[in-house]
């Protein structure tokens, strides 16, 4: 207790000076996520929000030295799929901006427009080692859910650092229902939406007020996806549905596809790999809880990795408040056949690369200084971060949850708990 308070206090004291100073974290086991691999007893040096060096050398003179002997030092975690900052309470609609079932707009919705940097889940997520996340909405009444954005976990008003980085779509059972009742209807709708975007603005000016699938704003918004500038994240699970999606690679080769879910992906892993389509999977999905996931297995992530598929790890069902669960998901992926290196990258450097951010999720010279110091293997359940840096700035290791904890740790205090704010 006392020790952790002192640590927080010392980190807070450092924060204002972070940009002026050189900080060296030394003595720890460094996971670089680069060709350097893992460096034992290494030193990470950062200055002005960037990584200056990663290696085994001594800290430069004049640097503020953070002793990390016995600790693990990793890049900040990057959630490939999250809704943190979009919902304070999932069941209370006024606080929940993840989805708009009552809106006629689909592709033109932007998760960034609903992002709240004061959302309590942000600090809760940050103190578990997450420094960045892709935030993505949920399709409402249609097949498309709009654009996702990239945010950092600083909680500052300028947390959004990239907009319109991915478009979410759903097929499979949910897509079929949204399209009117069948997979053929969903597929026809998607092809029509692609045609609408291609025909925009021409057909929307001459005669037609609306497209076959998309209203004017959505047709305009879908354009960058259809031209391949922004990837299309398609939620799909069943092996045959995955193969259907892969036919888009021939039909519309310019469209960049990422599969979300891919629960039966292991059955068509070679085809996914050959199509060079990355996947975002939940490695714990092993229940046949729908007919589209009858072949669910804990070994899915590992088998996809071995087939050469690029694998990121996320769980869209725990995206608002429990992005932090991704550590446990990655650990379980390792227990079920994925390599540790692959599983850790699946929650750090792989998502960063998916969204065009090569300077995140890695520790190398010139990268953004998102760094986490852990008290052990980060995937182990009993371990946790001692310190989190976002772009070189040390973050307070507290949240509304830690404040509640501290308020109620001692129930014998004379004044009611409401007087205690630490």
């Amino acid at each position: 207790m006392i020790r952790s308070f002192l640590l927080v206090a010392s980190l807070l004291a450092l924060a204002p000076a972070a940009f002026a100073q050189t900080v060296a974290i030394t003595g720890g086991k460094i996971v670089t996520n680069t060709a350097q691999g893992v460096i034992e007893n290494g030193t990470v040096v950062m200055r002005d929000g960037k990584i200056v060096s990663v290696g085994t050398g001594a800290p430069p003179s004049g640097a503020t030295v953070i002793e990390a002997t016995g600790k693990w030092i990793t890049p900040g975690l990057f959630a490939a799929f999250s809704r943190v900052g979009l919902s304070e309470l999932d069941s209370e609609n006024p606080t929940n901006d993840t989805s708009a079932p009552g809106s006629e707009f689909q592709a033109s919705l932007r998760a960034a427009d609903g992002f709240n940097p004061d959302d309590t889940a942000i600090a809760v997520t940050r103190i578990e080692g997450f420094t960045r996340a892709a935030i993505v909405g949920e399709p409402g009444q249609g097949l498309l859910g709009g654009y996702g954005a990239l945010v950092d976990m600083s909680g500052s008003f300028d947390s959004i650092f990239a907009r319109d980085v991915v478009m979410i779509a759903r097929l499979g059972e949910a897509g079929a229902e949204a399209a009117g009742g069948s997979r053929p209807a969903a597929w026809q709708w998607l092809l029509s939406a692609i045609n609408d975007a291609k025909a925009y603005p021409r057909s929307y000016i001459t005669g037609h007020k609306e497209g076959d699938a998309l209203v004017r704003q959505d047709a305009m918004a879908f354009g960058p996806v259809v031209t391949g500038r922004v990837p299309l994240l398609i939620e799909v699970h069943k092996a045959s549905d995955i193969l259907q999606v892969l036919t888009l690679r021939q039909r519309e080769p310019q469209i960049k596809i990422i599969l979300l879910g891919a629960t039966e992906g292991w059955r068509v892993a070679d085809q996914i790999a050959a199509a060079e389509v990355p996947v975002i999977v939940n490695p714990l999905q092993n229940l046949p809880d729908r007919f589209e996931v009858l072949a669910a297995t804990l070994e899915n992530a590992g088998r996809l990795q071995r087939a050469g598929v690029t694998v990121a790890i996320a769980d869209p069902n725990e995206a608002t408040h429990n992005t932090r669960f991704l550590l446990q998901l990655a650990g379980n992926a390792v227990a079920n056949g994925m390599t540790w290196d692959g599983a850790f990258k699946a929650i750090s450097s792989v998502p960063a690369a998916l969204y065009g951010q090569p300077d995140l999720g890695v520790l190398r010279q010139g990268a953004i200084a998102d760094v986490v110091i852990w008290n052990g293997d980060p995937l182990e359940l009993m371990n946790s971060p001692d310190a989190v840096y976002i772009a070189g700035v040390s973050m307070p290791m507290e949240s509304r949850q830690t404040k509640l904890r501290d308020r109620y740790l001692d129930l014998s205090e004379p004044l009611p708990q409401a007087y205690e704010r630490q």
Binding site: T297, R405, Y408
Partner: protein
């Protein structure tokens, strides 16, 4: 159903043919006129859907040289556990054991042995996979008080979730109705073994339980019906409490009627056995008393008031748990465990004082207002109160597969807050404490000689994310073997489907 215990078996057999099948009555055995048998006491069979569970053929083994958590808080390094005839027969050092010749041995080097995990909160079978519309059998939403329903009548034994839970070291669980209602109905305790029927899985000798629910769910499901089905009360938290009180009051009066009937019958019986000439009473025994009408809803509630049915109370907020505790005092029953208890840490002292366990998640929060104040240290803080009883529960077909991992998170979080609990002690959250709150601690939950051999052999430290259950024993029989496909059950639903189970 206290009356049941008073009835000798022979009387049951005699009465069975004289009454409707559900109703069993007792013969006084004192009929003076063989042509006109005396009326019999009205009593109802408390176990009309009895367990047909049979253990699998026993696998007698000696597990040697393992790290053993005994479930009582103790750890034995290089320890041994002897399983014979379905029971634990010895635990400790192998040298101190009398070993039968030729007993099969399992090398525990690098492995851990623990009691099987008991999940006190599951809906498997009642909300099975796949989650079809046709499978929504966990909430009888037709009324706010449905104490008359029994969740065992919803259990589909072919839910693949049972086998997934097996792979996670679950040897027993409580299946509960959902939390839509104030009184959701009876829960049932089962062994996690494959069966053709729900009865094949029922834990022999385990008590029945009653699901009750606080807070948002009942008032949302009923009051927020907006005039449509189901609608009506309760509309608010005060409506919830009024609904509980109304039902308990009716149960109190029902119990009074039955208690009076039984007392009157006792008195009448006494009179029939003591002829008037001896007692000086020339009126004779007269007519026997009339039994009250049976009410299936109140039968269950009376079972609680008689101390035979254990209350499992879904409740998130600390202030509501305190209200429920007063409610239980008002009507004279005991809450066995608060389930979910996201704010249990705020009243850890009160729960400990009342002897009520907190069946909790490690870290769920934020999905609704009453879950807003969830913290990661809830379990260790409830444990840490003097006399505190913490349980790790799932309420989830995924979570039940990894309750040991949930305990590990809670343990690590506690340590972060300065609450240092040995791993062997934390294992009490997974087996002993749930067994206690379910009334089956005399049968399972710890590794003690004479108890059922419900045992898991883990590939390593069960608090590590990389560890998996290698072997699972229920009543001394291997129900799950990670290395042997012939001991990995596949339920009917998955047979002939892609993969046939998780391990494909």
């Amino acid at each position: 159903m206290q009356v049941w215990k008073l009835i000798p078996l022979v009387a049951l057999l005699a009465g069975a043919c004289a009454t409707t099948p559900a109703e069993t009555t007792s013969d006084t055995g004192q009929a003076s006129d063989p042509a006109k048998p005396l009326p019999m006491r009205v009593a109802y069979n408390p176990d009309p859907y009895p367990s047909t569970y049979k253990p699998l053929p026993p696998d007698d083994v000696l597990i040697r040289n393992a790290t053993v958590y005994d479930g009582l808080g103790g750890e034995i390094k290089g320890g041994a556990v002897l399983i014979q005839g379905g029971k634990i027969t010895a635990i400790g050092s192998e040298a101190s054991m009398i070993l039968p010749a030729g007993i099969r041995t399992i090398d525990g080097t690098g492995r851990f042995v623990t009691p099987g995990i008991i999940d006190i909160h599951s809906h498997l079978g009642a909300y099975p996979s796949p989650g079809l519309e046709a499978h929504q059998d966990g909430n009888e939403v037709s009324g706010a008080v449905t104490a008359e329903v029994w969740v065992e009548h919803s259990i589909w034994p072919h839910d693949p979730g049972f086998t997934r839970a097996m792979a996670g070291g679950i040897t027993a669980m409580q299946i509960l109705p959902g939390s839509a209602n104030l009184f959701g109905g009876r829960g049932v305790i089962i062994k996690n073994v494959p069966g053709r029927t729900a009865q094949d899985m029922k834990f022999p000798g385990a008590p029945y339980t009653l699901k009750m629910a606080c807070g948002e769910n009942p008032k949302r499901v009923y009051g927020y019906g907006g005039g449509r089905f189901p609608g009506g009360a309760p509309f608010s938290r005060m409506g919830n409490v009024a609904g509980y009180r109304d039902a308990w009051q009716r149960a109190t009066e029902y119990k009074r009627k039955w208690d009076k009937y039984n007392a009157d019958f006792d008195a009448w019986e006494k009179k029939t056995k003591s002829p008037a000439e001896k007692t000086g009473d020339d009126k004779g025994p007269g007519d026997p008393p009339n039994a009250p009408d049976r009410d299936l809803e109140l039968d269950t509630l009376m079972g609680v008031l008689n101390g035979e049915i254990l209350v499992q109370q879904h409740c998130y907020r600390a202030d509501e748990m305190a209200q429920i505790i007063d409610l239980s005092h008002e009507f004279g029953y005991k809450v066995s465990a608060f389930h979910h208890g996201v704010e249990a840490y705020k009243i850890a002292d009160l729960l400990a004082k009342e002897g009520i366990c907190g069946a909790l998640w490690a870290d769920w929060w934020g999905f609704k207002a009453e879950a807003y104040d969830g913290i990661r240290e809830n379990i260790p803080m409830v444990h840490n109160a003097a006399g505190g009883c913490a349980i790790v529960h799932s309420d989830d077909a995924n979570g039940i597969q990894r309750l040991n991992q949930e305990a590990a998170k809670a343990l690590g979080d506690g340590a972060r807050a300065g609450i240092n609990i040995p791993k062997a002690v934390a294992w009490t959250w997974l087996s002993r404490n749930p067994a206690k709150a379910l009334g089956i601690l005399d049968k399972t939950g710890t590794l003690e000689p004479g108890k059922a051999a419900d045992v898991v052999i883990w590939s390593g430290d069960p608090f590590s994310v990389y560890t998996r259950a290698d072997l699972v024993f229920v009543d001394g029989a291997i129900t799950w073997d990670r290395s042997d496909p012939s001991r990995r059950p596949v339920v009917d639903f998955e047979l002939g489907q892609p993969g046939e189970g998780d391990v494909k």
